[in-house]
């Protein structure tokens, strides 16, 4: 590693130190490297090396469990900071987690964690009876272990509203019982496997599994464990596994707060098939089960198709003749992907960066929702330079590794899968048809009328919570305040009588858009203040905003409020709504560098007529 170089940057107080440190941290392979980088970071903080960019707020994270958290906490703090999610850590005492969670006067609750990482003790995940006990007894004991963990998780979540991460259990890596280990649940091997499965399958939605079993498997069981480290200092695993564990925790935390990717843009030649169709012809390209290379490309297409099943949109950006490229999808019998699998298909000679920009406009999605995959470093570089928001994956030299590369990119991991994810491809396809219709209509009113739109307004319900959290944490453009909230935060809001919260669903004759707009408003005396107002950009210019405002005023009247207060907090992405409140008839009352405030008089407001038929869904219990 560039050890000398980064130390020079540190000693000179050069702000470039921080970028370099982040890059080296991402590359760091073993514990030693990462630990030393974390030391450099501490030195840089002590020396106050100037750091560019805004200072993110620290997240209060509590670590607790049947282990000692040093030096793990150093790595975690370091990786979190490097990934833009700095932590303020609180560490529970070694193996004191049960009383720390059960005792409401414990230091844990005084700390007020926003997130908790619980690492239950492996010592307590052991079948106490005989290997030959009846299977029902062994299963019941495994269930008891899982229930006791889930009870702790529920308790800490209820008391602190924190998001909870729980590590499952590493499997043994010694031969011990031989093949007999698989014939009884009484062996550590089978018992822990069973517990891990029960834990995963019964986890409530606020529990985020930190899959230590998987991490250890990936690293190799013998490498993941270190008996001496346990005897001497109660380490959760070997030092070699600690960097991977720290990265996993940060990845989980980032997933709770950041939008996931929505579109996978694929190159064609030497990406979806071997060879160049313009040179080799449709018969000459390698795809399908007739050759090993052809099989590898086919496997890659199958994997892309499975991502589509999971709700990821597929698109093509290729340097090709459009008709020639499309012909492969129409005529080649071995192709897995077909034209209607793609929401956008751009085969032309424009720079791919431009093509991706156009896709973003057409699909009404932010560029940061896109991932671009190509085997050609030059194409990757163009996209990196001209649309840096787009995540890129440069495929390696061997098509056999393509699937693995995509599987390891960690950009398309589902959190809570909602049925709307699966519907999304369909939604975006109808959007394209809808645009075609709008293009033929000159009169907007007639267009809206023709859509036969139906809106449904509902107070927040428990069943909607995963979708609400997803939209709140994903939407950037039409988002007046961009306040992110976790599922736990939303549940707390639902219980707070000062808040009026509702969601808006829209369907029309082309399809169901699902839940597309969210409002959170807080009443303070005679003012109803709009804490959050966001909307999916798919339904821009569809009069949804008008109906949302009608509803807000209705709620304000119901609660005896005279004024509706609107707040705009600018971000890099919400320029679109900068003057939104002014357009909606609000009056500017305050403006500074942080944002703008507006008022709307409730008594003077006349409901805005729209073409959306509105129905209300009352507080149904999910």
């Amino acid at each position: 590693m560039g050890d000398v170089e980064i130390k020079a940057l540190l000693l000179n107080g050069n702000p470039e130190f921080w970028d370099r440190l982040a890059i080296l941290t991402r590359q760091a392979g073993d514990f030693d490297e990462m630990f030393q980088l974390s030391n450099l970071r501490k030195k840089a903080l002590a020396r106050q090396v100037p750091r560019p960019g805004p200072v993110p707020k620290k997240i209060r994270l509590a670590l607790m469990g049947g282990y000692s958290f040093y030096p793990f906490r150093e790595l975690l703090e370091h990786v979190g900071d490097m990934e833009g999610l700095p932590y303020e850590l609180w560490c529970g005492d070694y193996d004191n987690y049960i009383s720390e969670i059960m005792d409401e006067a414990s230091g844990l609750y005084a700390f007020g964690p926003q997130a908790v990482l619980l690492m239950p003790s492996e010592q307590r995940c052991k079948y106490p009876g005989k290997l030959t006990d009846p299977r029902e007894m062994q299963q019941a004991e495994a269930r008891r272990v899982v229930d006791s963990i889930l009870e702790l998780v529920r308790k800490v979540h209820d008391k602190s509203q924190a998001e909870v991460m729980v590590t499952n259990f590493m499997l043994p890596a010694r031969h011990d019982l031989g093949a007999y280990r698989d014939r009884t649940l009484g062996s550590d091997w089978a018992f822990r496997k069973w517990v891990n499965l029960e834990l995963g399958l019964n986890a409530p939605s606020f529990l985020h599994l930190c899959d230590l079993e998987f991490l250890a498997y990936r690293a190799g069981g013998l490498n993941a464990r270190d008996e001496r480290a346990w005897f001497e200092s109660k380490q959760p695993c070997s030092a070699a596994l600690l960097p991977a564990l720290a990265r996993e925790v940060v990845h989980l935390m980032a997933g709770l707060r950041r939008a996931s990717k929505k579109v996978l843009v694929l190159d064609l030649d030497n990406t979806l098939w071997g060879g160049v169709v313009a040179d080799d012809g449709i018969e000459g390209i390698e795809i399908g089960d007739t050759s090993p290379r052809g099989e590898a490309f086919k496997a890659f297409q199958k994997y892309a198709a499975s991502l589509k099943e999971r709700g990821i949109l597929l698109a093509v950006a290729s340097k090709n003749d459009q008709a020639k490229a499309e012909e492969v999808f129409q005529k080649h019998p071995e192709m897995v992907l077909r034209l209607d699998d793609f929401v956008s298909f751009k085969a032309n000679w424009e720079p791919k960066s431009e093509n991706i920009r156009q896709m973003a406009t057409e699909l009404n999605l932010g560029l940061d929702s896109f991932v671009f995959v190509d085997d050609n470093p030059a194409e990757i570089e163009i996209v990196r330079q001209f649309v840096p928001e787009v995540e890129t994956i440069l495929l390696g030299p061997d098509p056999a590794d393509y699937v693995g590369q995509l599987q390891d990119c960690r950009l398309f991991e589902p959190r809570n899968i909602t049925s709307e994810d699966i519907e999304r491809t369909h939604l975006y396809r109808s959007e394209t048809q809808r645009k075609a219709l709008a293009a033929t209509m000159t009169d907007m009113d007639a267009y809206w009328e023709s859509l036969a739109m139906e809106g449904e307004i509902s107070a927040f319900t428990p069943i909607d919570v995963p979708r609400l959290a997803q939209l709140i944490n994903r939407s950037n453009q039409f988002n007046l305040t961009t306040r992110r909230r976790s599922e736990a935060d939303l549940v707390a809001l639902m219980r707070d009588p000062a808040y009026s919260c509702f969601s808006f669903r829209l369907k029309d004759r082309f399809g169901d858009h699902g839940l597309i707009s969210i409002v959170i408003a807080k009443k303070t005396e005679a003012v109803l203040s709009i804490d959050t107002w966001l909307m999916s950009c798919r339904v821009l210019k569809r009069q949804v905003e008008d109906e949302v405002l009608n509803e807000l005023v209705r709620l304000a009247r119901q609660q005896g409020c005279m004024k509706l207060e609107g707040i705009y907090l600018p971000t890099a992405k919400n320029e679109m709504v900068r003057d939104f409140y002014a357009r909606m008839g609000f009056v500017l009352t305050h403006e500074d560098e942080c944002g703008k405030k507006y008022d709307l008089s409730v008594p003077a407001f006349q409901p805005i007529p729209t073409k959306i038929k509105i129905s209300h869904r009352s507080h149904d219990p999910g």
Binding site: Q36, N39, K42, A46, P71, R228, F231, E232, S233, Q235
Partner: protein, 81 residues
Amino acid sequence: MTQADVIAKLQTIFDQVFLEPVHLTPIMTAKDVPEWDSLTHISLLLAVEKAFAIRFHVGEVETTRNVGEFADLIAKRIQTL
């Protein structure tokens, strides 16, 4: 490797692990270095093991009473590889 050789190599490791510079001597103990607590000790040992390509046996490091004895233990582990 003599004790002095080992200490010289240890010095470079200490320079990386500790924020404040520490000048190692054979009679120095962990108590003489404010940063050298039971926690940094763990990372220090891992760094030492990696640098010397050795592995201490369970519990034996805590029986050494100063840097000199620690260096002797390292020299012994190098020999018995």
